[in-house]
């Protein structure tokens, strides 16, 4: 049985109109499945699919703790499964754990599915889960998820199929966090990750970093009937036109990260199509509020009214994006603050703030870099808008190499790029909490911190939504990060590939396409 609030949360989600959710009144969690309720054609079994990811280098890895980009995530979801998985409705569904509950958000019990085996035949036990989760806490693991794992106070195997996790503080989002790629389950004691021994839909046939990963169907996969493909090859092609040409020439059937400007070429082809995934990914203008000119609230307000949001979506993103309202929560999110009016592009109000704050002639460099989607175009548009209200803004392009360590958050004004997070708590904790290391604009707000900590243990969903709404208002009105638009993920595919759908967790069905797609002959 699951605890009460899980049921409530699901009912709320249903009311939010996020589609038909498979749930029962008794609160039994039904095995989630991304495939839609529409009459879909029967999946076909067999065939080999070649896909290309956009990130690839010799640091490609099969170690979930070290995965750092979309290529790694896709590769790892081919071979491993997690305790939970994140559905297209942004919910944590049972996966290797057939049920999970917590009375207080602090002590969690995960009951493992029985009869699951690793690719080498070993049965999955609680010990594997304990090992997989505990290793993130050790600094020498070099885990990307160390900060998240630090909230695990204890991880215990209660019996062979039950794991208990005690947190340092309540976090009702734990199941969602455990559905992300770092927390995929590996075998107890694994030191060499190059074999990719997991419980996932494919077995690793070969893995060459910076080149290709080949998986063959795992006949003992714990989801009956899945996967459909006999073989998946994932190539790493960092050059966008090489990916597109490979797709158009018929060498590839599926490619990640199509440039918006190239989408036109794909549209002209009768044999290909585009998968647009509306996501919470965004490029934000960071105005440091702890130094001039951002420490003057009027300056930040003026910059907000100067954001040509619609134009950024139309020109920089070629329409593949959504206007944002200066906070990181996209409009389709269940916790979106619908009561906060959309901030317009308004030169008059910007002028008013420039006058009020005596800011004429002030401004400075907008530090941007070409690979950060929309940052250069956004800065150029902003510079022109600034000229019209008496602000002197200057576009400063810097090379992308070393951007995150040298430039990001290091100037009075710079651009950031934030990937979607599975939960708002992660997003707010990592980027807006006063003492967060990535608090991009140096914004400190006691009220926000209080709300955030309280929301982690709030089991009443309506109250929780209200708290998140209040936090969004605080960010949009007072924080120095200005979010003009959300960026859609664009993937290209051969029309013979069936079963593809969008999942807001990430490109290519939340990085998990291999499990779901099939090929029409």
């Amino acid at each position: 049985m699951t605890s009460n609030f899980t049921v409530k949360r699901r009912d709320i989600l249903k009311m939010m109109g996020v589609g038909a959710v498979a749930s029962t009144a008794s609160g039994l969690l039904v095995l989630g499945d991304i495939s839609s309720a529409q009459a879909a054609p029967m999946p076909k079994r067999g065939g080999k699919l070649r896909a290309a990811s956009a990130n690839s280098s010799v640091s490609d890895t099969l170690d979930p703790a070290k995965g750092s980009n979309s290529g790694d995530y896709i590769r790892q979801f081919m071979f491993y499964s997690g305790l939970t998985e994140l559905s297209a409705k942004m919910r944590a569904e049972p996966a290797l754990a057939e049920s999970f509950d917590s009375p207080d958000g602090i002590t969690w019990t995960f009951r493992l599915r029985k009869g699951v085996t690793f690719h080498d035949g070993k049965a999955l036990t609680a010990q594997d889960v304990v090992f997989s989760l505990a290793r993130h806490k050790l600094p020498e693991t070099g885990s990307q998820a160390k900060v998240l794992a630090d909230q695990f106070a204890q991880i215990n195997a209660v019996d062979a199929h039950t794991v208990q996790i005690v947190l340092v503080a309540p976090n009702v989002d734990l199941p969602s966090i455990l559905g992300t790629s770092p927390f995929l389950i590996v075998q107890d004691g694994t030191k060499d990750f190059s074999k990719g021994i997991g419980t996932g839909p494919f077995k690793c046939k070969s893995f060459t970093p910076a080149r290709s990963t080949v998986g063959v169907r795992n006949p003992n996969f714990w989801k009956p009937g899945k996967p459909y493909l006999d073989e998946v090859e994932l190539l790493g092609l960092t050059d966008a036109s090489a990916r597109l040409n490979g797709l158009l020439a018929g060498d590839l059937q599926l490619v990640a990260s199509v440039q918006p400007s190239d989408a036109v070429r794909l549209k002209q082809s009768k044999k290909h199509a585009i998968l647009e995934t509306k996501s919470g990914m965004y490029t934000d203008l960071i105005v440091r509020v702890d130094q001039a000119p951002g420490n003057n609230a009027d300056f930040v307000d003026a910059m907000r009214y100067l954001q040509p949001r619609e134009q950024i979506v139309k020109t920089a993103l070629h329409g593949y994006g959504t206007v944002a309202n200066d906070h990181p929560v996209p409009p389709w999110h269940p916790y979106y603050a619908a009561n906060l009016p959309q901030r317009p592009y308004d030169l008059e109000r910007a002028k008013f703030h420039v006058k009020k704050g005596k800011l004429q002639g002030l401004g400075g460099d907008l530090v941007c870099s070409e690979p950060i989607d929309g940052s250069v175009e956004g800065a150029q548009l902003l510079q022109q808008a600034g000229n019209q209200v008496g602000l002197k803004l200057n576009v400063r392009r810097v090379p992308y190499d070393g951007y995150w360590s040298q430039h990001w958050m290091k100037h009075p004004m710079s651009y950031g790029s934030i990937n979607p997070r599975p939960t708002l708590d992660m997003l707010f904790s990592q980027f807006y909490y006063s003492s967060a290391r990535w608090n991009e604009s140096g914004w400190k707000n006691a009220q926000f911190d209080q709300l955030l900590v309280a929301s982690r243990g709030e089991t009443d969903d309506a109250k929780r939504k209200k708290m998140y709404g209040d936090m969004q208002v605080l960010i949009a009105e007072h924080c120095g990060t200005i979010v003009p638009a959300f960026i859609s993920f664009l993937d290209g595919y051969d029309r013979r590939v069936k079963g593809l759908e969008s999942n807001p967790m990430g490109m290519l069905m939340g990085y998990r396409f291999a499990e779901f797609v099939w090929l029409e002959a």
Binding site: S57, V58, G142, N245, S405
Partner: protein, 318 residues
């Protein structure tokens, strides 16, 4: 081969080793000047002070720079190229098949471009000033003037995307059969030939014309020798020196300078590994690539010099 050549080769090898040492030291310290290190790059946005410190300890980056350079040298002396920071596997494993790929691409390109360049150069020299010479001149010049990324992109668009004659990704073809091999290599080799040939053609033509204007050729012609014989047996040996040097310079580009071609055709060679390694601050791999490129460059120059000496009686006898 005589004593003189052997002595020259011996001297060259000694100087070459010193050059390699200087180059590798220079690159090592320059890479260290770049902002950020391997640990920061590996952790990217998610770096925390403690994970960065732990990774630095793992990589040995907490040691002083000079100490690291000398321990790398010591490893080199025992034939150990070190462990890649970015992937944790020996450098040898990473670069192994990529060296083979790069050398294959360079060898095929050489085999195609050198004969063509020689023939075009000789023909232009013999018929200098004629319409044929002018057409050949314009052709070679225009081919080298168009940037390679444009040629490569257009070639992929036309032959792979539109006509489906070849694969857009050169490594996806099966190279064990002749047709497969041709499909994989024809486009990158064509683009690279465009890049390297012009220099060789112009040098051959200029050097040969220089010889054809000299008195001994006039004498040979007056004696009634056939043109082909005059060119091939009298003039050519004296042209070998400058031409071999021009070729060595052109061909050295094929190993380290083909990053654009490797990217557009997704060809897994060493140049892209090198660029990746620099952006990952993966010093062991950077160092290996630099050494490899330098050795190849010095070898090519050495071969060119040997040719010059062997074909030059004056040098042979001195």
């Amino acid at each position: 081969m005589n004593r003189y050549v052997l002595k020259m080769v011996g001297r060259r090898i000694c100087v070459g080793l010193l050059t390699l040492l200087a180059v590798s030291a220079l690159i090592f310290f320059m890479t260290n000047l770049l902002p950020g290190d391997a640990a920061q790059v590996a952790l990217g946005q998610s770096a925390t002070p403690e994970t960065v410190a732990a990774l630095r300890r793992q990589f040995g980056l907490d040691q002083p720079v000079v100490f690291r350079f000398f321990s790398w040298l010591a490893g080199l002396a025992t034939g150990n190229f070190g462990i890649s920071y970015a992937s944790g596997v020996p450098v040898r494993t990473i670069v192994g098949d990529r060296i083979v790929n790069s050398l294959t691409l360079a060898a095929v390109t050489t085999a195609v471009s050198v004969p063509i360049a020689l023939i075009v150069g000789i023909v232009s020299a013999i018929y200098r000033g004629s319409r044929l010479d002018r057409v050949l001149g314009i052709l070679t010049m225009s081919v080298v003037a168009v940037p390679e990324f444009l040629v490569a992109s257009l070639a992929v668009m036309l032959f792979a995307v539109k006509l489906h004659w070849v694969s857009a990704l050169s490594f996806s073809a099966d190279t064990s059969t002749l047709t497969g091999f041709l499909k994989a290599y024809i486009l990158p080799v064509m683009v690279l030939c465009f890049v390297v040939m012009a220099q060789m053609v112009r040098m051959t033509r200029a050097a040969l014309i220089n010889q054809l204007d000299s008195a001994y050729i006039e004498m040979a012609m007056l004696k009634g020798l056939r043109l082909r014989r005059v060119v091939l047996t009298h003039a050519m040996p004296n042209v070998v020196g400058p031409v071999a040097n021009a070729m060595a310079l052109s061909l050295s580009y094929l190993l380290g300078g083909v990053i654009i071609v490797e990217t557009i055709f997704s060809y897994p060679g060493l140049a892209s590994t090198f660029v990746d390694a620099v952006s990952n601050r993966d010093l062991p791999v950077v160092q290996f690539c630099v050494l490899f490129f330098s050795v190849c460059f010095l070898l090519l120059l050495l071969i060119a010099d040997i040719f010059t000496i062997v074909f030059n009686p004056k040098l042979r006898k001195s």
